[in-house]
Symmetry: C2
């Protein structure tokens, strides 16, 4: 990655991810074709690729090799894609629109979407195991363990279960925060920590600073999502707006109002910058990315 | 494992798996409780534990450490359990009975069952990464890669997609075999190869013999399943009998008749024994296990 400005850099990351994922996902010419079509439909040509941006930005801090960051980013995006496919299923959020396109089970069918999600998760671990991510293979095993923990019942899948359980219930702010720490925060934290761990070993206090940054940015991401869900429109978002409120889901905007939620996001952003205070200019992309996550409009 | 007779040994494996899985699965006292309850419901107290038996029997051939075999067995059973939970969902086989108990989505709800399956898959990779399986960590990474491949679109999940696609279609015998090689064969093959690779390195021709054994036993397992589905009754099977035929699914019995399918299984069994001809008495459990798989009545 060169020193281009942030918008150019973010487009470069997104373009690179498309290429990397297209190469890692099995071709539809390989059996079972329909399943491979569905996996590609779910994982390609979509999203802001915020998570890969976090991986690449964190990798700068430790001078990580770009090839390693591509693999970690791909694994994260495969898991993110699987979680969206399963989250959109009728027994979950029952959504028909995602990134402006029909959701996977609408485009294919429910069973294929279910299996595509399952296979995307397996593929994520396959690419993490089959490619070199760290000089020390024991460190790589620890990285895979950290990633698996972030995906599972005490990470992303657990967050979705807490979310399900919360529909129609008056969650307190700390309970809401706990849900998001799991549902989206765990994978975002994994992006930052694993991106950094693809490079030179970090001292403990710098690792702790990155961890703090990751947790703050993960939470800010969700607060902004709630604001956009409430204030945005379907054309900009590429998904149905106001859906969470209609579903009786607790959100930051229902607790704090739109203006209050925006202030909360701004406060988290300031703390995220503070968490990086011990880092030099190599952390600038992380700083820019935090700004981008809080100030985005979709 | 001591040199007890096969029935005692198989009970010992099953009992040990129950203990190992109970220790690895998160407690329901940890949040999210309902998800952890569902994961435990799906993975504990059920099944013949044929796959762990394959892992332990293969581990004997290479003098593998029992602790490593426990971890590989647990990962396999977690993935097997997740596949059953997802397979039973209304959008797949829509089954209400499994091992004589309500299926996971009937006991809990569809969304919880979906997430429990997702989290079980993640947990499988977590335990494989967090525990020592081989002296050489690079070998362990290769083992995790092999396992992931067996789970994904070119393994088990792919086999389920081929199965879905086959409902109501007249598959040829080779097509039927291709489906089963993926759907059940890939994970069974992983059991044998990974069990053996937990111990002393095997020469290439012995590894190839084990691979051949695993493929034959995996196929025989499915042929016998079809016979039992057609000829068995729900009380013995613990699941609905004749269901595949009613669903218009191609089976070995629909191709070969019950007697023909039994002969085919016996032929595969003979070939499986032949594949082990270069092995000494340390492969006896594998031989007994092949006999057990073909001659079981449930």
């Amino acid at each position: 990655m060169n020193a281009a400005d942030f918008p150019a850099w973010s487009r470069e990351v997104a373009g690179r991810m498309e290429t990397v994922l297209a190469g890692l996902l099995p071709s539809p010419r390989i059996m079972p074709s329909r399943l491979h079509d569905a996996m590609r439909y779910a994982a390609l040509n979509g999203g802001k690729r915020v998570r890969p941006m976090l991986v690449f930005a964190a990798g700068r801090v430790s001078d990580a090799q770009p090839g390693r960051l591509e693999i970690v980013s791909a694994a994260v995006e495969l898991v993110h894609a699987y979680s969206l496919v399963h989250d959109d299923l009728p027994c979950m959020d029952d959504d028909v629109l995602r990134r402006g396109k029909p959701t996977c089970h609408v485009e294919f069918d429910e069973a294929t979407a279910l299996l595509a999600g399952d296979a995307l998760q397996g593929l994520a671990f396959q690419v993490l195991a089959e490619n070199r991510l760290a000089d020390d293979p024991d460190e790589q095993l620890r990285m895979i363990g950290l990633f698996a923990l972030a995906c599972g019942s005490r990470g992303m899948a657990g967050g979705q279960a807490i979310d399900l359980d919360a529909v129609g219930k008056p969650l307190t702010l700390p309970e809401l925060e706990n849900m998001h720490i799991h549902k989206t925060g765990a994978l975002i934290r994994a992006c930052v920590l694993l991106g950094a761990r693809c490079g030179e070993p970090l001292e403990a206090d710098r690792h702790a600073g990155l961890d703090r940054y990751a947790r703050l940015v993960g939470l800010a991401f969700q607060v902004v999502d709630d604001v956009l869900d409430e204030a945005g429109d379907a054309a900009t978002l590429g998904k149905t707006a106001g859906k969470d409120r209609e579903a009786g889901k607790p959100t930051y905007t229902s607790h704090l109002g739109i203006a209050g939620a925006r202030r909360f996001a701004a406060d988290l952003l300031a703390q995220a910058h503070e968490a990086l205070s011990a880092f030099d200019a190599r952390a600038d992309r992380l700083r820019e990315l935090a700004d981008f996550i809080v100030k985005r409009d979709r």
